[in-house]
Symmetry: C2
Amino acid sequence: MNGKLEWLRNKISLHNMQGMLVANPINIKYLTGLEAEGTLLLGRKENFFLTDARYIEEVQSTLTINDGIIVNNISNLTYDDYENFFLFCENVGFEENYVTYAMYKKYLERYKIHNLEETEYLIEKGRMIKDTEEITNIEKACYITDECFKHICAYIKIGMTEKQIANEIEKFFKSNGAEELAFETIVASGSNSSKPHAVPTDKKIEAGEPITIDMGCQYNGYCSDMTRTIFAGYVPVEIKKIYNLVLKNQTQTLKEMKDGASIKLISRMVENDFKINGYELVHALGHGVGLEVHEMPYITGRNDNGILKENMVVTNEPGIYLPGIFGVRIEDTVLITKSGCINLTKSDKNYIVVDKT
Amino acid sequence: MNGKLEWLRNKISLHNMQGMLVANPINIKYLTGLEAEGTLLLGRKENFFLTDARYIEEVQSTLTINDGIIVNNISNLTYDDYENFFLFCENVGFEENYVTYAMYKKYLERYKIHNLEETEYLIEKGRMIKDTEEITNIEKACYITDECFKHICAYIKIGMTEKQIANEIEKFFKSNGAEELAFETIVASGSNSSKPHAVPTDKKIEAGEPITIDMGCQYNGYCSDMTRTIFAGYVPVEIKKIYNLVLKNQTQTLKEMKDGASIKLISRMVENDFKINGYELVHALGHGVGLEVHEMPYITGRNDNGILKENMVVTNEPGIYLPGIFGVRIEDTVLITKSGCINLTKSDKNYIVVDKT
C-alpha cells in the first residue's frame, strides 16, 4: 500500500473508523495519483477504486501492485458487492464537506453502512504539510510564474487590452512547462483593479494606470499563486501611499510567518495596521497552496486555532481596494520553515513600471 | 422581478414550498445573471442575495431595480436576520444534489427552517428548454467552433504535438470572440484516441494516425461542444469500417432527434447497432448543452422517461474505442425542433485528411 493510504488508514483507525469513502477527486489524486472519476473505498482490509468504462484503461495503466488498490468497473457491481465493501465496519468515514446531501442518502442506502461518520477535513488537513516531492513541484510552478512575470513586464505596452495580456500569460505558461493555469488569470487595470476578483476585459491599458496581475500555473498538478500591482508608463503619485502600505504589510507578514506562528495573530496584525490607516482588509490574508490553489490553511483573523507549521506552503497577499478608483495587491507563495519562511515566488516588489514614458 | 425568478416562484409554490435556497452558482447565474459567490434566497415575499465584501461592488452594478433582489453583505447579518429570511415559510426547497451534507446541517441550524425539502433538479430541468437569447448564444459559440475547426485543419502538420494543437485551438477561440473554453480541449492521436477522455500530450502526430479533437467554447457563458476524428496524411484502411459505423449511427440519431422522441429508444438504437457489429457504446450518446457543457437531459439508455422537447440543445456523439489501438467519435451540438433537429455545429463529417501526403 502506498505511504499516503497507510497514513490515512492510521488516522481513521485512531478515530475508531474501520473504513472510509473518499469521493473528492483532489483527495483521490493526493492519495493515489489517479485523476479518473470514481470513488476510493478503504474497506476493512482492502482498498477499492470504483470507476466506469471510460476510465478503466487509464486507471489500470496508472496503478501498480504496490498501490494495493483493487479496481472495479461499477457496471459489473451487484447489490451484494456494494454491501460487502464495508462488511464488519462499524463506523465508516465520509467527506461531509464534499459529498452532497443526495449522495449521502445514496451511500447509506447502497452500502448499508451502520454509521456514516463525518471526518472534518481529515485528508485536507493532512495535505497542508507538503513532502519533498510536492515542494519541488510547487517550486517549479513558482519558478515558471516568475519567468512569466519577467516576460509579461517586457511585453505590456500602453494600448493593449487586459484580455490580450491575460492570453499572453496563458500562452507563456503552456509553452514553458506548465500543464495548466492554476486559476483564471486576473489582469485588472485602472479602476478595474479596485475589484479583488476582476475578470480581464477588452479595456485598454492607459498611461498612469495601475495593473493588478494575479497569476499562477500548475506543474505536475501543483499550483503557484502570485500577484503584483505594476504601473503603465509612470507611477501616479496618489497611489504611492497605498502601495507602500500594502508592501510594508506584505513584508512584515513575511517576517512573522514561521513554524509555530499563530495565523490569527498574523492576520490581525495586518487588519489592524490597515484600520489605523483608514482602510480595510476585505479578503483573507492568504491560503494554502498545493493540488488546489486555495486550500487549507486559510490565513484569516477568523482562523482561531490555526498555527503555521514547517513545510506548509501558503500565500501572503494583503490588498487595499478603493471602489471605482483603484486597488493594490501584492502576493507571494511561501514555504514555512522552522525559523521563518522562504519566498517561492521571487519577483520584484518595488514599483515596477512597464512601457515607461 | 425578472421572468426566470417568477417562473421559479410559480414552480415552488406548485410543490407547496414558500421559499427556496439556491446555492449552485450556475443556477444563480441562470436566474439572476450574477456570477458572484453567494446564496440566493427566495423568501416568502422578497428575494435576497447574500454575498461578501469581495463581490458587493460587482453585484450592485449588475442588478437593477427590475430584478427585485435585495443584496446583503453577510458580514452585517445577525442571527435574527438569518431566522427572518424564511419566517412563515413552512417548506423551503434546497438543491440536495449541489449542497453538501455539512452545508445542509448548517442551513437547518442557521435559518431555523421547519422543513428543508429536496427539489429534485427543479431549476436544472427548467434550464433544459432554452429561450431565444440562450439559443442565439449557443449558436454563436457553435459558429466560432466551426470556424476554429476550419482553422485547425489547415494548421495541423505531421510532427506537431497534441498539446501544440490544443493550444492553437484555445488561442483561436479567445481571439475570435469566445470568452473561455467550454472544457479542456481533447486532442488525441493514434492509440491515445482510444481513450474517450484523453488529455493532450507531447506526443507528435504521425502519418496515418487518426486524431480525435473534442472542443468547445463559451459565448456569453453558453457552451458549444463538437468532436471530429480526422486523419493525418491519409486514411488508414483498417479504420474505415469503424469510422463508417460511427458516422452511420451519428447520422441516424440526427434523424431520430425531435420533439417527443424517447431518449431511451434513441440511445438503445445506437447501443444495439454497435453490439450487432461487435462493439460497445461505453459512454452516453449525448447530453444537454447550455450554461454548462454537460447538463440535463442526459441522452443514455438509462434515462427511462426522458423525452426530447422543442428548444432543448443536446449533443449527439457516438464513439467506438479499441483500447490501445484507436478510437473514433463524431459529435454535434443540435437544437431540437417540432419536426426534427438543427445542427448548430456544421463542420464536415466525411473523412477529413490534414497535411495530406
